[in-house]
């Protein structure tokens, strides 16, 4: 990470203000405005639209291996995704993925 202290604070404060304004929008100033159904539909997909694209390169080209694909990390990610999908248990899915990663890196060197 290579930011000046001022840049870090700009990120923190503007993220805070921006997030608050998003949350307050319809509870506050936009309260009388009805969001059209197509906008609600689009917003419903923001997390599943942003997060996978964000994670995919981190899994395929991990920074720790300087971008070289690593089977252990891919299997760990797959394990977390599957356990999370079927159990919906956050702790179980992270721990099982991390367990796979540590076991494989131990055996594969």
């Amino acid at each position: 990470m290579n930011y000046s202290t001022a840049e870090i604070w700009v990120i923190i404060v503007l993220m805070g203000i921006g997030t608050y304004l998003i949350r307050f929008s319809f509870l506050g100033p936009l309260g009388r405005w009805q969001m059209p159904p197509w906008a609600l539909r689009l917003l419903r997909y923001t997390p599943v639209a942003v997060l996978p694209g964000l994670v995919a390169p981190l899994v395929l080209w991990p920074a720790a291996t300087e971008g070289v694909p690593d089977p252990a990390r891919m299997l760990a990610a797959g394990t977390t995704l599957l356990v999370g999908y079927f159990t919906k248990n956050v702790v179980a899915s992270i721990l099982s993925g991390a367990g796979v990663l540590y076991l494989l890196s131990y055996f594969l060197g």
Binding site: E7, M15, G28, G31, L43, P47, A49, A76, A77
Partner: protein
């Protein structure tokens, strides 16, 4: 009499929100540890958790910062993840809209995934509840998660200083994302949006400043919404 029943509604909300602390505390802890390992100091880590209170967005900002993305890209990516909260806000407005301005301003601050889910379920079940009780319930159900988020981040930040870098903790960030993501893949539309996002983001990964991610997210939202619209048409 009225006062005491408003108070009991508050506590009912409080206990309804309590189970979510189990899900939230590992994220807060992980955020504190990883943000500290990434180089943020205690005050910066805590300020982010206090001002933002949104795990997915905080992890997004952190991963963009680890890539040294420009400030504006960090902000756009993190706020894009939080856009879903505009939908929460719109969906709570019919219930909480009649409350005084300052109470709505407070409610907005603690509007997170968990308080939204618990609150809206309660209001749909009991739309006749008076506004003061609705607000009491909502604040009550948000409080456990809200405080646990601060405490867990703080504990994580302290812990982060004592964990050596060679434990490949870097990979906990993608795992945390995947653990948030997996339960969201509820319908075909969600899965299609996720796949679109992955394919476009990887294809456009040569673009600078994470522009590929922003394009991927916009296309994926459109794909999800369009599939939902079409499947809705089939049903009706």
């Amino acid at each position: 009499m009225v006062e005491s029943s408003t108070r009991s509604t508050f506590w009912r909300g409080f206990w309804a929100g309590m189970p979510f602390t189990l899900a939230v505390s590992p994220f807060g802890l992980a955020f504190g540890v990883l943000a500290t390992e990434a180089g943020l100091n205690l005050i910066e880590v805590m300020s982010m958790s206090v001002l933002v209170i949104a795990g997915a967005a905080q992890f997004t900002a952190l991963s963009q910062m680890q890539e040294n993305a420009p400030v504006i890209v960090v902000l756009i990516a993190a706020l894009a993840v939080n856009l879903r909260m505009a939908m929460y806000s719109a969906s709570l407005a019919p219930y909480l809209g009649p409350a005084p301005f300052w109470k709505r301003a407070v409610a907005a601050y603690i509007l997170v995934d968990n308080s939204y889910a618990v609150g809206v379920a309660e209001f749909e079940k009991k739309p006749e509840m008076p506004i003061a009780k609705k607000m009491a319930f909502f604040i009550g159900c948000a409080i456990p998660v809200w405080f646990v988020w601060y405490i867990a981040t703080f504990a994580g930040a302290l812990l982060g200083k004592s964990i050596p870098a060679e434990y490949s903790l870097d990979f906990v960030v993608p795992l945390a994302f995947l653990a948030i993501l997996a339960p969201m893949l509820k319908t075909l539309a969600h899965i299609a949006a996720a796949l679109t996002s992955i394919i476009v983001a990887l294809t456009l990964s040569f673009l600078p400043y994470s522009l590929g991610l922003l394009i991927a997210a916009a296309l994926a939202m459109a794909v999800g919404a369009e599939i939902e619209r079409r499947s809705g048409l089939v049903k009706s």
